[in-house]
Amino acid sequence: MKSKLHRIYTVFLVSTIALFLSASCVSPPESALPSPIEVIDQLGRTVALDKTPQRIVSLAPSNTEILFALGLSDRVVAVTDYCNYPPEAEAKQTIGGFSTPSIEEIVSLSTDLVLATSRHEAKIIPQLEDRGLNVLALNPETIDGVLEAIILTGMVAGVEERAAELVAGMRQRIESVTDKTDGLPLEQRPATCYVVWHDPLMTAGSGTLQDELIEKAGGLNIARELTDYADISLEAVIAANPEVIIAGAGHGSGADQTFQFAKTEPRLRDTEARRHDRIYAVDVDLTSRPGPRIVEGLEEFAQFIHPELFN
C-alpha cells in the first residue's frame, strides 16, 4: 500500500531532505564547450559528463516541462506516461510511469542523460548508474528550488544562457506578485485553505509548494501548523473559517470532484469562503509540479486571494 501511495505525485515532495543549497555550488565552468561538465545535483550527487548530452530521458513531468522550456525538445528522447505538458511532450516515446520507469527502455534508447528526481533516489538511480548512465537528480521543494533546478539543467545541457533568461523572466513575474504582497500585515491576509483531496479531506501544510504559493500570494494558510500534505478534519476547516478555498483539480472527467466538494459540501455552508462564493479550482499541474509553470500557479493564487490587487 505504501509504495502505491508513494506513486501519487501530488504527495511526492515528502521524503528527501533538500540539498538544493549545495546545488548552487558548482565547480568552475571556465572552459568552453564542448568540455567536461561537472555539477552537484539537488541530491548532493556529483554529476560529471564528458560532453553535452544529446539524448535525454525525463523521469518526471516537472523535469519534462523544464527541458521543453529550455528549448531542448529535440534532445528529449523519452518521457513518462504522466508527462502531458507541453502538448508536444505527449508525442514523445514513454518509458513507463513516474515511479516505475523501465530501465530496459532507458538503456535501449542509448540515453546519455537521465533527468531523475528524489523519488528515484533509492531504487532507480543506482540501477541506472550501474549501467553506466549519467543521472542528474532534481529535487526542487520550493520556488527557489525550481529556479535552481532550471539553472542546473541548463548547465548540464549546455544552455546556460537560455536557463538564465528563463529564470530571470520567472523571477520578474514572481516579484511582481510579491512586491504587492510582502508587506501585507496579518489582518490583510485572508485565511486560505488549499484542498488537495476531499475524501479523506487532505490539505497542504508547511513545506509544500502550495503553502509557499499561498504565503507569497498574500494569504494565510489555515494548515500552516501541519507539515506536508496532511489529512485535516472537516471540523478543523469549519472552525478555521477560511475566506478563500482553493481546490486542486486535474484534467479528465471526475477530476474536479474536489472542487465540487468545496462548492457543495453542506457543512461548509457557513464558512466565509462559501458565503462570498470564493471557492476556486486550480490545475494541480500548476501548483504541485515543481516546474516553470509554478509562476502561473502563483499568479492564479494571487488573483484568487487578492482580486483587488491583481486584475
Partner: protein
C-alpha cells in the same frame, strides 16, 4: 480445530455464568451510550463538554433549551461528529458480528468478515466506480458505494456457487474458493490501480478506509442492513452453537445445516458489504473483537454475538476517536489505529489465558 463451546466454557472464560453475562450486556450497553457522548464531545476543535450535551439534548423531543452557542458549533456536533460516531459504531458492530458468525460457521479462528471475497469484491466494485467516466455530483449521489456493495455481494455469491458440491457447500471448499477468488480479484484491483493514472490517489485512499466525511445519509443507508442482518444472526445464535458439533451430528439433531449456512452467510455478507461500501475495508476489528469477547465471556453464541455487537461498536468508536484526535487536526487512517490498539490488547488477553483457545 473443532471444539465444544458448551462443554468448554465454564472453565475457559473470565465472566461465565448466565447472570454475569446478562449484566455484562447491560453494562456494555451503558458504556456504549457513554462512549458515544464522549466521542461526540471530543474533536480537533475544542467544544466544552457541557455545550456538546446541550446541543445534543436540545434536539431531543420535549426539551427546550435556549441556544447559547454558535451555529458552527451545532454544525460540528450534529452534522460532523454525531453521524461519524454513529457510523463508526454501526460498522464496528457489523464487522464484529460478521467475524463472530464466520468464525463459528467455519469453525476456524482465522476467519474474518473478508474471508470469502467480500473485501476484494467491494474493492473491485469501488475501483470500477472510480474509473467510470461518470462524476458523482451529476447523479446527485455517489456511485462508488453502490458498486462496492454490488461487487461484495456478487463476489460472495460466486464463491458460494463455486464451492457447491452436489447439494452441500463444504466449509473447506468455501474457504478455498474464497481465498482463490479473492486473490484473483485482488490482482485485478492492483492492475487497475497502477493503470488508473491521476485517479489513483482517490482509489488508494478509499481502499485504506476512512470515516472522515461520514454523513447522516450514509448512516441512513447502512443502518437498515446492519440492523436486519444482526438481528437475524442473533436469532440463529443457538443454531450456531449446535453447528460447533460435527455438521453430521448437527444434522442428526434436526438442524438443516445447508439452509442455516446459507442464511448466516447471506446475513453476515450483507452487513459486511453495507459497511465496507461507505468506509472501505477496515481490518482487524472483525477478527479480533469476537476472539476478545470469547476470551472474556466464553464461546456460547447466544452471548458471544450480542456482546460482539456492543464490543465492536465501542472499539470502533474509540479507535476512530483516537484516529481523529491524537494528531489533530490531522487524521490517522483508521486501519492503523485498529491494528495498533487491537493487536496488543488481544495478545495480552491471549497470554493471560495461557491455554489454547478456540
Amino acid at each position: 480445530m473443532s471444539f465444544n463451546p458448551v462443554a468448554n466454557e465454564p472453565i475457559g472464560a473470565y465472566f461465565s455464568g448466565r447472570r454475569t453475562r446478562l449484566f455484562s450486556i447491560l453494562g456494555l450497553s451503558v458504556a456504549l451510550v457513554a462512549i458515544v457522548l464522549l466521542a461526540t464531545s471530543v474533536g480537533s476543535v475544542h467544544i466544552p463538554i457541557l455545550t456538546t450535551f446541550s446541543v445534543l439534548v436540545a434536539k431531543l423531543p420535549l426539551v427546550d433549551i435556549a441556544q447559547t452557542w454558535q451555529g458552527t458549533v451545532e454544525t460540528i456536533v450534529l452534522e460532523i461528529r454525531l453521524p461519524r460516531v454513529i457510523l463508526a459504531g454501526l460498522v464496528g458492530a457489523a464487522l464484529a458480528t460478521a467475524g463472530a458468525t464466520y468464525q463459528g460457521l467455519f469453525r476456524n479462528p482465522l476467519a474474518d468478515p473478508y474471508l470469502i471475497g467480500v473485501a476484494q469484491g467491494a474493492s473491485l466494485g469501488a475501483v470500477i466506480g472510480f474509473l467510470l467516466p461518470i462524476t458523482w455530483h451529476n447523479l446527485g449521489f455517489s456511485i462508488i458505494p453502490l458498486l462496492a456493495f454490488i461487487g461484495a455481494l456478487v463476489a460472495t455469491a460466486v464463491v458460494y456457487g463455486l464451492a457447491r458440491v452436489g447439494k452441500t457447500v463444504p466449509v473447506t471448499t468455501l474457504i478455498l474458493a474464497g481465498v482463490a477468488l479473492g486473490a484473483l480479484l485482488g490482482s485485478i484491483v492492483s492492475y487497475l490501480i497502477i493503470s488508473s493514472g491521476e485517479k489513483m490517489h482517490g482509489i488508494v485512499f478509499w481502499l485504506m478506509g476512512s470515516f472522515s466525511l461520514s454523513q447522516w445519509s450514509e448512516v441512513g443507508i447502512v443502518l437498515p442492513y446492519v440492523a436486519t442482518g444482526t438481528v437475524v444472526i442473533i436469532i440463529l445464535a443457538r443454531m450456531l452453537n449446535v453447528m460447533q458439533l460435527d455438521e453430521e451430528q448437527a444434522q442428526q439433531l434436526g438442524v438443516n445445516v445447508e439452509r442455516l449456512k446459507l442464511i448466516l452467510l447471506a446475513a453476515a455478507t450483507l452487513i459486511t458489504a453495507a459497511s465496507v461500501s461507505f468506509v472501505g475495508t477496515i481490518g482487524f476489528v472483525g477478527i479480533i473483537t469476537p476472539h476478545a469477547v470469547r476470551l472474556i465471556w466464553g464461546a456460547d453464541h447466544r452471548f458471544l454475538l450480542p456482546l460482539s455487537v456492543l464490543a465492536g461498536a465501542i472499539f470502533m468508536i474509540l479507535a476512530d476517536l483516537v484516529a481523529r484526535t491524537v494528531l489533530a487536526p490531522t487524521e490517522i487512517p483508521i486501519g492503523v489505529i485498529t491494528a495498533i490498539c487491537g493487536a496488543p490488547f488481544f495478545l495480552y488477553l491471549l497470554r493471560r489465558r495461557k491455554k489454547a483457545i478456540f
